[in-house]
Symmetry: C2
Subunit: 661 residues, 2 copies
């Protein structure tokens, strides 16, 4: 079986343009298209702790020999590789697709590869079996080959038992006194086969370069978010007082817009007025004044100790505090004085404020990424984040990451993860899909989406299908916010409470990560003017009095409980849309292991809608089952095929039904 | 605009786990998913001489700056790269997809890359334009930036005219006597823009590793093949005598099964009988006897001079002779004596004949690719092919390449192409799709397909769509043989002449490469037994008397003329299937530039079928046009939308209609 050239035996001949390549000759096995993989392995795929990862690849070779394949994998810091067997799947794909499953049980960077080899003994045994079955008798040559294979196997036997079995068989095959048919029986014995396979050399072994899987804690994909402006809740201490109630409601992450000092030069007034009144607090995104910048806390919100106390209390309740990370400064930010070299300066010496002509943001300055001093700028920005990480903040909502260099984010996230691998990054990017995807590739844990603008059945089905099936599900985790301080969709403005209920249920059941911005639970729905998605009296520019007493909170609490109790709702790409025979009704099933949940939502906030939830056979549910509505407790006898549904605003906007048998 | 770190200016600080990467900072532009590309550039895409290649890629960066992009490319041996501009296409894909076209005008390996940069002046000009349009007036800062950009542009001006234009503009922008609005007009002048762009430095330039395009002569994708056994035509000289007639019929390639001496040990008799009669000639694929092997010619067929004469005559008629390349030997082949180390030998010393249990091929021995002497074996096999290349053979039909190592084929093809880049390799592989594809990736010019077994409308549509659109069209070129000595499909056995007509028209119009094996034009359709696809009295085992007088030849000649006159039929992946409202009718359009051909075939050999050819608007044809049937000369007034069709066996089996206006 040697495959090294023995040049001495070859006749002298003219040299070829390209000599036979020694290393290629043995490589008869092709392994291609491994999954999970992002851009051919250029970026890691993402998973969460506890996930079972299906690793698949095409494995084939020339000829008809039998192959074996394994996944080899290791977790972060593991010196050794583990192995798990792969088996052929999907006969309709030529039978060349193999798969095996691995478990990822801790955060960090995992690696895997696929290794395959020719099963020499298995191939010989299979041919012998077919010849015996065909009644061929003159198999002495075959048996003599088997002896050689068994003698080789004996040298690699994994145990004394295996060795004894193999040697016994080899002796029987060599013994002229043993009848041919008994030799065949011996050679084909399944125990012998297993013993030989255990120790078999991996003939013509092939593998592929290792691929990466970035494993996050579960909250990176699964969490209920609540956004609030701490100045409307009594500052950081006031927020801390709400933590038990927020935990009781089932929220996982409380996201605070920037908590830093706010600039006063060109401060925006109420309703985004160009001039602020004397008591207007300004937008928290105009970061920094003479007293401090990105690493300071607005004195009216509290102190660093207050923040540490808040994050500690949240942690005790199993929750996270999320800070905003917005790389921009007000005109009064200390960096403008201390590091003018980090900002855009015109030839006439003036600094450039942010603008996207004809829009101007005179209260905000962007940093100059092409500054000669960019390494110091990068490090300062990293310092800022590490400072908040040290205060117990493990989640950041990153403002407009798509206007900063991808390379910066890759570097920042890598460094922060080197300090604390639990940190989660949410990208607030509403831009070209390719750019949003690329932010996921370079390391963002999750991203805002266009969910807010997808309100019809067609829009939701198309958009969610793309997020779930187009390949981006390997690295792009959606977060479905039902509203934000910037986005009050017309559907909510005009649909009243039924619209808010529908959107909450959609967000919470379609996406493992979803969120609301406070006021939503009160069904706040008045825009600054008709046609705008901005709130009237937006909290971005004024202080409100807020309390956790909105009428939607019982529904939200119920949904958060349902989400935790049903693993099917903790994954995104396990969704299957069902026909409903009515475009005002959307229905979808999610399944994970034994758990299956079917959601049907009436998208019409004004009228009752009747239709069907048509359960397709390929979901693998039993022919008839109980649909147990987890919102109301009602139970319906459902089945594969059409199931009548009637949903009436005010009475029942949706079913969220667990499949029970 | 420098982006190199100037470490001296940075404050001393604790080192980071990962320092800011100098080379990453400038890289703000992402270029991804270039096309054409096979497996992320691992294998070359294929094109033919004269093709216009659309090169596309995603090009984007963070932020809103304007980008520019070019394709850079060079042909084989070119020391320098040429460039052609790319422009954004497909706004629905985020507007990040760019494309440009290049021409490949000679055989060999071409390379291309995509280069993109930030258009600094264009971005500045665009913002200025938007500000002026918005009525903003205080633009002195912007103008002072423009002066700097123009001064930089002046240093790179491409011509004296450009320089003069740029310097004049810079002076105007600096001149306090020039009114602001005149400065704006100057800055926004289109001629100034063009002059600056011509010389502009490529700011933040990014590119991708070069990708490969393997360019073949046109016959690698477009040709009409005729297979014949020379022993039935009077040997090589007899074949040569037919060349003018074959050329007149429009055939491009005459393919000869193996022309070597045939073994006599275990020679197969008529109808594949296990024992040959004394006068049975044997199968040409049992290669070699005591007088010679793969580099010899069967004495009854002629001499090497006869072959050289044949290939020369073919070349004079614009045709190619194709030889069979089958790596297997009869028991009498000289290599078994001279190089027993190249063959499988059992421990008991016996040689292993070919088998796939329970089938045995006692007249054939396979080589042992895992022989320690494999380099000598590879070189001998290359010698064989180069020998025939030297005799003027530029096309090889390779027998069962899927049972030999891929690495061998890659090496063989590379070496043969180093000697003669015009050589074409046809893979005779009927196996797993992934294996067939892989043979294309490692270098085969074209491949047999499953066309023979695709006879219904659904089968044809599905199969051709996969070949045309699944990505394999970049490297896998189908050859649609309507029959072979091994495959007489039941459709032909039972359908009579109309079936033969339908299949000829399908093969010739669906695939640029198509072929028939002689006898087909006589509608030979008797199988060795019901249920078999083997011919009765198969020519594989006996000598026939053949002549070019089959009743289908006029149709074939007409089709070959139509194919040559209509560029649309010289490409594979330009096919669009049309609805017909009748499953017995298949219709498809092909378009290339101004040339469009619509083919409608009645798949039912027994009955007339009526239906529609529904021309979709997206084909871009005029609302009404003339369908000029190139088989009959008839002209029909057709239009976008449904067009009535009636096709009757015996009278008219198909339309092959050119679109005329």
């Amino acid at each position: 079986m040697a495959s090294t050239p023995t040049a001495g035996a070859r006749p002298a001949r003219a040299p070829y343009a390209i000599a036979p390549p020694a290393e290629r000759a043995a490589a008869r096995i092709v392994i291609q298209y491994p999954q999970p993989a992002v851009d051919d392995g250029r970026y890691p795929a993402k998973r969460c702790v506890g996930d079972s990862v299906m690793v698949a690849a095409d494995v084939f070779r020339d000829g008809h020999d039998i192959l074996r394949a394994v996944v080899r994998y290791r977790g972060p810091g593991d010196p050794d590789w583990r192995e798990t067997e792969m088996r052929p799947i999907d006969a309709h794909l030529d039978g060349v697709r193999w798969a095996g499953e691995i478990e990822v049980d801790r955060v960090g960077r995992w690696e895997y590869t696929v290794e395959a080899w020719t099963d020499v003994f298995g191939t010989w045994r299979d041919e012998l079996e077919r010849k015996v079955a065909a009644g061929q008798h003159d198999l002495a040559g075959e048996i003599s080959e088997g002896v050689l294979l068994l003698e080789s196997a004996a040298r690699n036997a994994r145990s004394a038992d295996d060795l004894s079995l193999i040697e016994h068989a080899a002796r029987a095959l060599k013994d002229p006194a043993v009848p041919e048919t008994a030799k065949h029986d011996t050679a084909l014995g399944p125990e012998l086969f297993a013993a030989v396979e255990r120790g078999q050399e991996r003939h013509g072994r092939a593998s592929i370069p290792a691929l990466k899987i970035e494993v996050d804690r579960v909250r990176a994909k699964f969490g209920a978010w609540y956004e609030l402006f701490p100045r409307s809740w009594g500052g950081l201490r006031g927020v801390e007082a709400q933590i038990p109630a927020l935990a009781e409601l089932g929220f996982d992450i409380v996201y605070l817009p920037p908590i830093h000092p706010i600039g006063h030069t060109n401060r925006k007034g109420r309703n985004n007025a160009l001039r602020a009144g004397p008591r207007d607090p300004g937008s928290p995104w105009a970061i920094g004044d003479e007293t401090g910048g990105h690493d300071a806390i607005h004195p009216e919100l509290g102190t660093e100790d207050d923040l540490r106390s808040l994050t500690a209390t949240a942690r005790r309740h199993g929750m996270d505090i999320c800070l905003d990370y917005a790389i921009q400064t007000s005109a009064d930010h200390p960096w403008l004085r201390e590091h003018p070299e980090w900002f855009h300066r015109r030839p006439d010496g003036t600094l450039k404020y942010a603008e996207n002509p004809p829009k101007r943001y005179q209260d905000i300055y962007n940093v100059n990424w092409e500054s000669p001093e960019w390494p110091a700028l990068w490090e300062a920005l990293l310092d800022v984040m590490l400072h908040w990480v040290d205060c117990g903040v493990k989640v950041f909502r990153v403002d407009n990451p798509h206007t900063k260099p991808f390379a910066f984010w890759a570097w920042l996230i890598e460094n922060v993860h080197a300090r604390d691998r639990d940190v989660i990054f949410l990208a607030e990017a509403f831009t070209k899909r390719a750019v949003m995807r690329h932010l996921g590739k370079v390391g963002f844990s999750q991203s805002y989406t266009y969910f807010t603008w997808k309100n019809s059945r067609y829009e939701l089905t198309e958009y969610v299908s793309e997020l779930a099936y187009s390949g981006e599900q390997e690295y792009f985790r959606p977060n479905f916010f039902a509203n934000t301080p910037d986005i009050l969709h017309a559907y909510l403005q005009h649909g009243g409470r039924p619209a808010f209920e529908a959107r909450t249920i959609l967000a919470a059941t379609l996406s493992p990560s979803y969120g609301i911005y406070s006021g939503y639970e009160h069904c706040e729905n008045v825009p600054v003017r008709e046609g705008s998605e901005e709130y009237l009296h937006s909290e971005k520019y004024e202080v409100k009095r807020r309390a956790l007493d909105g009428p939607l909170l019982p529904l939200i609490k119920r949904l958060n409980t349902i989400r935790r109790e049903n693993p099917a709702l903790q994954y995104f790409d396990n969704v299957t849309f069902l026909d409903t025979a009515n475009d005002a009704l959307i229905a979808y099933a999610k399944r994970m292991g034994q758990n299956a949940v079917i959601t049907v939502v009436n998208l019409d906030p004004d009228r009752a809608q009747e239709g069907l939830a048509i359960v397709p056979a390929h979901l693998g549910l039993p022919p008839s089952f109980t649909a147990h509505d987890l919102l109301t407790g009602e139970r319906y006898p459902w089945r594969i095929g059409p199931n009548y549904v009637r949903l009436e605003p005010g009475l029942r906007q949706a079913h969220v039904a667990r499949v029970e048998i």
